[in-house]
């Protein structure tokens, strides 16, 4: 069943350190509002890192900085050892060209809260689009992998359907397949189940658990404490643009050290 999706490089740590994501002192402001106030974070290859926190704590913004959908104001983010969005040269930072940023994003998959499937394409076309247009794969090759991916997320019989004909849970599973089709080494999930009806959350989480079991490196912004406890290798609790507490998810959830974490968990659990 799971003969696919995890690309060769994901299993073996490519960077010598074995670190997939390294964030140092990441700052981000929107105008006068400082949303991230120095985030330090490390995610090892094959690890599932869950970002928790109240809304407005900056966790989604931080996630969007990792694939440079947001430009950071200070600090450094490295994915697989490579600096994101910039090139360091002669002690100076140079902005990367759009093309170079796009190339970096190819190996980082992202799943959005509101799915963002392309509504004018069928499920299959959604999954094939980027491998064919961006990676210049042959249509037949991309199609074969897309069909296998859609079958894996349980939508083998919905390939010809347009997103408007699918339920939220089905759409999100197509979105996951679409991201996996690029054979990323890192997957970012931005509240993937927040826009779903409660009864549809499970089917999406199941696909994500399956992915985690296969060794995909994942950063998941979520409110699903159960998922974090069961699947997470690390848990990061953010509030007010800083990391308040981090550690093993089971320990943090069972025995939070910080008052802020305690208060949050008391409300969510």
């Amino acid at each position: 069943m799971s003969e696919l999706t995890v690309p060769a490089q994901a299993g073996a740590p490519a960077a010598e350190s074995g670190l997939m994501v390294q964030a140092e002192q990441v700052h981000k402001s929107f105008g006068h509002l400082e949303v991230l106030k120095g985030i330090d974070l490390e995610v090892r290859s094959g690890e599932v890192c869950c970002l928790l926190g109240p809304s407005g704590s900056g966790k989604s913004t931080f996630l969007r900085c990792i694939n440079h959908l947001e430009k950071i104001n200070a600090g450094r983010i490295r994915v697989d050892g490579e600096l994101i969005g910039y090139r360091e040269h002669g002690g100076k930072l140079h902005e990367l060209r759009q093309k170079e940023v796009a190339a970096q994003r190819r190996s980082i998959g992202m799943v959005f809260q509101r799915f963002n499937l392309f509504p004018h394409m069928t499920a299959l076309e959604n999954v094939i689009e980027a491998p064919v247009r961006v990676k210049r794969e042959s249509k037949a090759e991309a199609r074969e992998r897309a069909e296998a991916l859609l079958a894996r997320v349980g939508l083998g019989d919905k390939m010809g359907n347009y997103p408007g004909q699918l339920s939220g849970g089905q759409q999100q599973r197509v979105a996951i397949a679409r991201a996996l089709a690029m054979q990323p080494k890192l997957m970012l999930f931005d509240e993937p189940t927040s826009a779903l009806d409660p009864e549809l959350v499970g089917e999406v989480l199941d696909v994500m658990k399956d992915l985690a079991r296969d060794g995909m490196t994942m950063i998941v912004v979520t409110h699903e404490i159960g998922f974090a406890r069961e699947v997470g290798d690390s848990l990061v609790f953010m509030d007010g643009g800083v990391v308040v507490e981090q550690g093993n998810p089971r320990e943090v959830i069972a025995n939070p050290q910080h008052d802020r974490t305690k208060a949050f968990l008391a409300k969510v659990l």
Partner: protein
């Protein structure tokens, strides 16, 4: 199960047969309109100035039909094709990250929307006053020549006389197409901006370039918003070809009708003929626009979405027994 039992056990109440609300106002309106219509028909039949037989005799003459085909129909098609293509380009310029392209795009739409079409056409029709010849080559060649001490240096690749090219049809086409591009640019820009920002983000996250993102993701979705006003623009363009009278373009419907009217001192019948021709042509376009809008509205809007959902539900129930996947 319980609810089904209830509905089957209870008897169905008898259908409602109520006395409908009366609308006396409607009858009064009908009476007033009938009188007005009778008066209008009376004028059409009795007023000699209409000179119907003269009008019918003249309005199908070959020069008029030729003017209709070339100056009105062909001009509309070509001006719209150029206008749409250039409009998309200007719209993309206006939405570009490059501030210089943005400024040029803004300047273009500002100029061509601010000058009335009629005035623009008069200017293009008389551009021969400015240059007798239009030539392509190295710019400022004579001035550069003087700088190096060469008299009357001319580095021209090719050129043509304004009188040959930039009169009549070409001048009219240029005026209409350039002005149309400015309006189309605004329509396309609104269309592009109507596409959810999440679409751009999703495409970016997949590593698509800006060009791919526009071509494959944004523009196809923007079409739904762009097509209906483009239909309106086409209809407006067809009517605006009558402004070519001021370029002037002689092989054109209104020019020809106007000429016949002035030559024969039967101005009014010829203007009525113009009304009838334009009514006929725009009606054809209106029918086309109806089908175009119906096609592009598919799957969108409350009605379209409901239709799509019904079809899905029907398909799932027809497929049978997939219970758990239910919507």
């Amino acid at each position: 199960m319980a609810s089904e039992e209830v509905t089957t056990v209870r008897a169905r109440p008898e259908p409602i047969r109520a006395v409908p609300v009366r609308h006396p106002g409607r009858w009064i309106t009908v009476a007033v309109l009938a009188v007005l219509a009778a008066m209008f028909v009376h004028v059409l039949v009795t007023n000699k100035a209409f000179n119907w037989s003269f009008m019918v005799d003249k309005m199908f003459r070959p020069p008029i039909i030729e003017g209709l085909l070339r100056g009105t129909v062909l001009m509309t098609v070509v001006a719209m094709v150029i206008g749409v293509a250039l409009g998309v380009l200007v719209a993309i310029m206006r939405l570009s990250d490059n501030p210089i392209l943005r400024a040029v795009g803004w300047l273009y739409t500002w100029f061509f929307r601010a000058v009335p079409r009629l005035v623009l056409l008069a200017v293009f029709g008389n551009i021969g006053i400015l240059w007798s010849r239009i030539e392509f080559g190295v710019p400022f060649d004579t001035q550069l020549g003087q700088l190096f001490g060469i008299d009357n240096l001319q580095l021209r690749l090719f050129g043509f006389s304004s009188r040959d090219i930039l009169t009549g049809f070409m001048a009219g086409l240029l005026g209409l197409a350039l002005s149309e591009a400015a309006y189309m640019a605004e329509i396309v820009r609104a269309g592009i901006q109507s596409v959810d920002g999440g679409q751009t983000e999703a495409a970016q996250a997949l590593g698509m370039s800006r060009g791919q993102l526009l071509r494959r993701v944004v523009l196809p979705q923007a079409m739904r918003v762009i097509i209906p006003p483009t239909g309106n623009e086409t209809i407006a363009m067809l009517k605006d070809t009558s402004l070519l009278l001021y370029v002037p373009v002689s092989v054109e419907l209104f020019f020809q009708l106007d000429a016949v009217g002035k030559r024969t001192f039967q101005i009014f019948p010829m203007y009525v003929a113009a009304c009838l021709w334009y009514l006929f042509l725009t009606s054809i376009l209106l029918v086309g626009q109806y089908f175009l809008e119906r096609h592009f509205g598919k799957g969108y809007g409350p009605a379209g979405r409901a239709r799509l959902r019904l079809r899905t539900i029907a398909a799932e129930q027809g497929g049978g027994g997939q219970g758990t996947a239910g919507v």
